[in-house]
Symmetry: C2
Subunit: 211 residues, 2 copies
DNA sequence: TCCTGTAACCAATCAGTGATAGGTGATCAG
DNA sequence: CTGATCACCTATCACTGATTGGTTACAGGA
């Protein structure tokens, strides 16, 4: 990634996409370490080994770099959930295992999770201004995996009598709450992490499961 | 608050504190509408009717303005929770009612909640850098109210067999998750809000309550 | 081989940012 | 009247994201 500050050699004629990836990699690393707002375009450019204006040949604005990372983080999470999908859920333990994938993803890739769900900086207008917000395909697919499972459970009469979409949103937000607080407030006197996670999942499963 | 851009008359000799409050009021309004990062010190100064450097007579940095708002938001939430405290919880409905105070506060004062729990911008270093984070008195008091209630319930054997601190953190994070997502993603196709909240509370209560 | 188009890239510069330096004028106590 | 202090200002700093107007290197056609 060029940490020395030396110039990276000019790319061959059709190889601009390669440079683009280098920019994204450098930005992810820097954003993760210092936070998007504390990283300047000049720092990103230096990490890549190019001039600052060259960034604008690949991205219209700085926020667009963040937005691209955002989309990729979402896609990765959706993929993790889909990969962990072991078909119909039969027991509360099964449900807990599925939810654990979500939590594990967030804690294993805090920088990704941060950028995907917790960062308002990279797309401040979209997060701040209600009317600008639309549901990205990535969000839909992440949300969709969870919804399908719970709807299926509901159809088999195994959940409490709450419609599946409300159930999904409730469970999702509970997962998100734990993950985001664990990431955002590492200085908080949390109880032992595994204990916290397993009791959180227990709470969820107890709340969702019928009888 | 002086929206016209005209100069505010010079304060009398001992009245600097008054100006300080005007700055905080203007900053809260602007931060809420546009997000802290999209508001400049010059905009705040203009809203108050003073020059930009004058801000620095009252606050060391821009972030300190945000930090003060942060502290006040926390205090207000803690007060809401304490005010709503109706003594020992006897039924799951009682518990749900208490948790609802938290959610209602967040949705009634989204700007406060945002600044208190969701904003990394106003104190980016503290949120981003793990080692810098400590538990503020305001956080402790907010958290403390919830903990006392759940510990008391636990002592009477009315909760599932999870230690009260883990229970508290789990419940708190679930509340936070719902509130923060509702605030941050107003464009998401949420189910009807009251339904979502009541089913969320139902889930919590079912998860916490014994048998 | 020379030309031409274009992809890749850069130095110089813009307006706007948070913050600082140093000064002005009003108001008080003595 | 004097000196201190508070409230506040203009001018300016280094830095930010972004734009302008190029230059350089190379592929393919004549």
């Amino acid at each position: 990634m060029n940490t020395s500050g030396s110039r990276s050699p000019r790319k061959a004629k059709g190889q601009g996409a390669e440079r683009r990836e280098e920019i994204l990699a450098a930005a992810l690393k820097l954003f993760t370490e210092f936070g998007p707002y504390a990283v300047s375009t000049r720092q990103i450019a230096q990490a890549v080994g190019i001039s600052q204006p060259t960034l604008y040949a690949y991205f219209p604005t700085k926020d667009d770099i963040g937005r691209e990372l955002h989309g990729r983080a979402f896609a990765l999470l959706a993929q993790s959930l889909a990969d962990g999908d072991r078909g119909p859920i039969e027991t509360p333990e099964c449900l807990m295992q599925m939810l654990r994938i979500y939590i594990d993803f967030g804690l294993k890739h805090p920088e990704m999770y941060r950028i995907a769900f917790m960062s308002e900086s990279v797309q401040i207008k979209a997060w701040w201004k209600p009317q600008d917000v639309t549901l990205s395909p990535e969000t839909q697919s992440t949300y969709g995996v969870l919804f399908r499972e719970l709807a299926e459970l509901h159809g088999r009469g195994l959940t409490i009598d709450v419609e599946p979409s409300a159930l999904t949103q409730s469970v999702w937000s509970s997962m998100h709450g734990l993950v985001s607080l664990l990431i955002a407030k590492p200085g908080f006197p949390w109880v032992e992490r595994d204990l916290l996670i397993s009791s959180h999942l227990k709470l969820m499963a107890r709340g969702v499961w019928k009888a």
